[in-house]
Amino acid sequence: MSKKNKHLEIQSVAGSNEKREKLIGYLMALPAVVLLIAFTVYPLFYLFYRSLYGGSIITREPKFVGIDNYVALVESRDFGQVLRNTAVYTIITVGLTMVLAIIIAVWLNGKRNSKLNNIAQTFIFTPHIISMVSVSTLFLWLMDSKNGFINSVLVALGFEPYTFLSSPDTALLSVSLVSVWKGLGYYVLLIMAALQNIPTSVYEAAEMDDTPPLRTFFKITLPMISPTILFISVVAVIASFRVFDSINIMTGGGPLNSTNTLVYYIYDFAYTYGKPGQACAAGIVLLVFVCIVTYVQFLVGKKRVHYQ
């Protein structure tokens, strides 16, 4: 409505067709641009800006503290733990997910038992479309140290019950396993799409060369899907940096801070301790990590990756 009016206005004012075209282009992009700036660019600047101030969420005029918040982070043992937890969680989750996803994708892409392949593919992907809330709640129940199904089975078989989420030694691993279970299907799907782009004739040439299956996998299949592997590894790493839902629902950062990860730390500091300044500082740290990883992907992508 108001856009249409502007259209007519421009027609009479601008005169030349090209100018009108340009203006229309700008106008069409305008709403998206405004929203993107409001919810992407501005928050990043604000994040940095707020990290230089103290005070709580409701403080009217927070005090400028410069790099004090960052210093507090560096000196905080908790934050060090948080970084370690995030790193360990990322390595385990991404490592497990990638290895399993590659193996399963190649396995389900084969010619044997193709009907089972289809069924397996459908089931592997299902966890991906439901909420992490559901998955976390479900596994909270499955991994329950007293009545959980897994431990009941273990006890029935004569083993000791596993501590899963109740011990600081095993909680992070347990959360990681849940993420792997949920995310596997997505990565299997993407790898299978990449596998299907490999022409059959390349495999036939390998057959003619009398290539044993493992050698085919490592020397032909893997290099040919390496662009995809690299890309999804980065996606997985960044996703792992962002973990929150499962931790909030399953462990609340504990026990004993063992599952306190970066985003949870930010959330905690902002809402539980009411120190948005420090939370924003931690947010900047997260931003830096995301930028570094994205840049690494870009660099490595140029060098190592094989294209057809």
Partner: protein, 347 residues
């Protein structure tokens, strides 16, 4: 150097039978070309010999050994694919070396073979390039090199030249013929192009709808086609086939290049009018209107359109085909009948 034998081979995909009860003998040391239109079964036959396609029924023998259950890589044959199927993530050298490593050939021997093959094929400067940085012709040569370096008993090739431009194709044809002459290995080659087949083969196997129509040397195929299909498959323009106007549905066939643009002795002479002409340079292709239909002629005589003339075909250049489209003998009686119908000089 090896002979290949297919006995009673049938290939079916589910309920669809594409090849039924095929018998084929490929002589050791020959350059055998399987030729035919799309879907005639030539590629399928090739792939069954290599083992990439499983045989539904029947047996395949290489050098007298039944290979049905032997893996493709262990049959001592190599294959050049239509789209080359190079390993895209390896250098040219690694592509060529790949199969040798699988056979556990020691490094020195590998290097020797690779150098030798690269000299023959002309790839020495490109050894460290990646397939993506090669032209079509270069990739084709890598595919060739990869198959040569294994020193197999048989070379299988599935339309290896069809993705190249015309000039390159002609050059590669010559190279392949020379290769065969030098190496003496059995070549089994699939193409849909009859020119390729005729120029390269020692034996042509003409196929259609999963069956072998005729198997013989190129010269024999040209001069002595066993049926209308064969007669019309080889040669351009197509062999003329007209109704014999005799009682038993006999058809008369003769090649355009055998049509004389003047009256002859010892053959038939037909009244014709030049409808169109196509200048090829040394020769001209005419389409002639006659009372028996349109006939094509190829001649070096230059005559303008609309010329009316008598054209002649010698008896020795005629093919007679029966109602089942197969050749029937050219008896004296038929000769007399033909002359009666078409008019000509029996002297």
């Amino acid at each position: 150097m090896s002979s290949i034998s297919l006995k009673n081979v049938t290939k079916a995909y589910g309920d669809v039978v594409v090849i039924e009860d095929l018998d084929l003998e490929i002589k050791s040391g020959s350059f055998t070309v399987l030729v035919g239109p799309s879907g005639c079964g030539k590629s399928t036959t090739l792939r069954m010999i290599t083992g990439l396609e499983k045989v539904t029924k029947g047996d395949i023998f290489i050098d007298g050994v039944r290979v049905n259950d032997i893996a493709p890589g262990k049959r001592d044959i190599s294959m050049v694919f239509q789209n080359y199927a190079l390993y895209p993530t390896m250098t040219v050298r690694d592509n060529i070396e790949f199969g040798l490593i699988n056979q556990k050939i020691p490094k020195e021997e590998r290097n020797r073979r690779i150098n030798e093959v690269c000299n023959i094929v002309g790839l020495t400067e490109y050894l460290h390039r990646m397939p993506a940085n090669l032209s079509g012709g270069q990739r084709q040569r890598v595919a060739l090199a990869r198959s040569m370096v294994k020193e197999p008993k048989v070379f299988m090739m599935d339309e290896p030249l069809s993705n190249l431009d015309a000039k390159l194709r002609a050059a590669m044809r010559v190279e392949l013929i020379n290769m065969h002459k030098k190496m003496g290995t059995t070549f089994v080659y699939v193409t849909h192009d009859q020119v390729e087949a005729m120029s390269m083969a020692t034996d042509i196997v003409l196929m259609d709808e999963g069956k072998i129509i005729q198997q013989s040397s190129p010269s024999e195929l040209y001069h002595n086609p066993n049926c209308i299909y064969t007669a019309q498959f080889v040669g351009s323009p197509q062999t003329n086939v007209i109704d014999g106007h005799l009682s038993n549905e006999v058809k008369l066939g003769f090649r355009p290049e055998r049509v004389r643009m003047y009256e002859i002795e010892n053959g038939i002479n037909i009244l014709a009018k030049i409808a169109t002409r196509e200048m090829l340079g040394a020769e001209i292709i005419y389409s002639l209107e006659t009372q028996y239909g349109t006939i094509m002629a190829k001649s070096d005589k230059d005559l303008p359109t609309d010329t009316e003339l008598k054209v002649g075909v010698e008896y020795s250049h005629m093919y007679l085909f029966g109602a089942d489209t197969y050749r029937i003998p050219f008896t004296e009686e038929l000769k007399a009948n033909i002359t009666d119908v078409f008019g000509g000089d029996k002297s």
